[in-house]
């Protein structure tokens, strides 16, 4: 097993499959129980180091660690030594001195988790670094697809929207490709990153034409907080060309799945009626996130003595 989870590209097919299988068995182990807690990581410390606001991901990691009986320390940039000017490296040394067994890091700079992995002895889990990667999100998306559709091999997945600023898109493309799915990216040309043609995915600008040939459609949020430029003329025009409204949802095959990594902007990239429809897996994605993160913590943290 790998020691850190920094990029979806670090996961080969066997490791990714092991993670998804473990998540599923953890789900089984916790079903219908009186005590929703497993003793597996008792006495271990997991630090959540969040330099960006993210209630969803932090709570998900925190819940996952607590379900495995680990101690959780939350460290957010606001109101900590970070706001007083401490560098990432000094923070890393502090965490090291406290004996953190795992550090979950969310950082606005791409590559921050890689740097951190070089400075601490514990496992580092990337919970999103800049516009680069978000591997546990990709794992929970793949898990949700596999549970709902029964397979990943040959599954036609269309990812739509702000690919440029989306770490979710990059991690998803890498992981889904490893697991055998066919990925198509749909976005306005201004919201595709440089070098996207080297990604293992097809690119299309015609959303309507792609929808009938799609098993899973994943809508991305338009990340206005990362935008320093105007990438499209108006919200209305974006929504009309790249939003998933009821008319477009009707173009999908009957058993197709609608996903969104959240937080969603209803009425912008996705219509409320579509987000709340039976084919939407958006709420399941959140529940599955805890299972996948438990699996990652379990596989990274158990057996560090002797296994290496």
């Amino acid at each position: 097993m790998i020691r850190h989870l920094l990029s979806a590209a670090d996961l080969d097919r066997d490791t990714a499959t092991l993670l998804l299988d473990t998540a599923r068995q953890l789900g089984q182990a916790l079903t219908g129980r009186e005590v929703k807690k497993l003793p597996t990581l008792r006495g271990r410390t997991v630090v959540n180091l969040f330099y960006e606001d993210s209630t969803r991901t932090r709570v998900s990691f925190e819940t996952a660690a607590k379900r495995l009986s680990a101690d959780v320390v939350n460290f957010s940039a606001k109101g900590s030594s970070v706001s007083k000017g401490e560098s990432l490296k000094d923070t890393a040394w502090t965490l090291q001195a406290m004996g953190a067994d795992a550090v979950v890091i969310r950082h606005p700079a791409s590559g921050a988790s890689h740097r951190l992995a070089g400075w601490v002895d514990g496992s580092v889990l990337n919970a999103g670094d800049g516009t680069h990667e978000h591997p546990t999100q990709a794992l929970l998306d793949a898990y949700t697809m596999r549970e709902r559709m029964g397979r990943l091999d040959g599954l036609r997945v269309t990812i739509v929207g702000d690919v440029l600023h989306s770490r979710v898109a990059r991690s998803n493309v890498l992981l889904l490709r490893t697991l055998g799915a066919d990925v198509t990216l749909v976005a306005p040309p201004t919201l595709l990153p440089v070098g996207v043609e080297t990604w293992p995915a097809r690119i299309s600008y015609d959303f309507d034409a792609i929808l009938p040939k799609t098993d899973v459609v994943m809508m991305l949020r338009v990340q206005r907080e990362r935008m320093t430029d105007s990438f499209f003329p108006s919200v209305r025009e974006y929504s009309r060309r790249y939003g998933l409204d009821l008319r477009r949802a009707a173009l999908l095959p009957d058993d197709a799945l609608v996903m969104h990594p959240g937080p969603m902007v209803r009425g912008m990239e996705i219509a409320p009626e579509v987000a709340d429809s039976a084919r939407s897996a958006i709420v399941e994605q959140v529940a599955n996130g805890v299972l996948v993160r438990m699996a990652a913590l379990y596989l990274l943290l158990s057996g560090e003595k002797g296994a290496e």
Binding site: Q28, R33, E34, L38, P39, Y298, L301, G303, G306, A307
Partner: protein, 188 residues
């Protein structure tokens, strides 16, 4: 405790044949019926890997002998093991608790080999996080001795005195090609 030594080189000796295992499972099923007075409140939980098919077989036997439907399932104990930090992350096994749960049931844990007793210790802890059984019993196909904890089985297929250096492999048709109990290594 499952011994994974199916490809162990060196001498090996078959201790129980296909037919022997059939008889042993028959006997344990009868003993369960006798000791629990008809097995009406019994739930069988197999410990993966090979305890699970054994639990299924016991449930089938009990049904065919007395027509009682005994709920049965699987209980993975990997997450409760005490050697996770020493031996590294292991893949998990399946867990499925029968629909009625285990509250107030006479739970019989089923495993293939009883050795140190640590697997059973983990299973007991796992069980008490799931609910509150009326009673817990243990059925094993083979007891090979060398207990490290105060644990004993209520139903034993065969007692096999072994040395630590030996390995006991239980083969079952559901997971292997045939039914057999094989002793490997040591000074045969």
């Amino acid at each position: 405790m499952v011994e994974r030594a199916h490809n162990t080189p060196g001498p090996s000796r078959e201790l129980l044949s296909d037919a022997d295992i059939g008889r042993v499972v028959d006997r344990i099923a009868h003993q369960i019926l006798e000791k629990t007075r008809g097995a009406r409140d019994v739930t069988l939980l197999g410990i993966p890997t090979r305890g699970v098919p054994l639990a299924v077989r016991l449930a089938e036997r009990i049904r065919s002998f007395e027509g009682v439907e005994v709920p049965h399932g699987a209980l993975d104990v990997t997450l409760y093991r005490d050697d996770l930090r020493l031996r590294g992350a292991r893949p998990l096994g399946p867990t499925s608790v029968p629909a009625g749960g285990i509250d107030g049931r006479r739970v019989i844990l089923v495993d293939d080999v009883l050795y140190s007793g640590r697997t059973v210790r983990a299973a007991l802890n796992a069980l008490y996080d799931i609910g509150r059984p009326l009673q817990v019993q243990l059925a094993v196909l083979v007891d090979r001795g060398h207990r490290e904890l105060p644990i004993r089985a209520d139903y034993v297929g065969k007692n096999i005195p072994t040395a630590h250096s030996e390995k006991v492999s239980v083969l079952l048709r559901e997971t292997d090609e045939r039914d057999a109990v094989v002793l490997h290594g040591g000074d045969l």
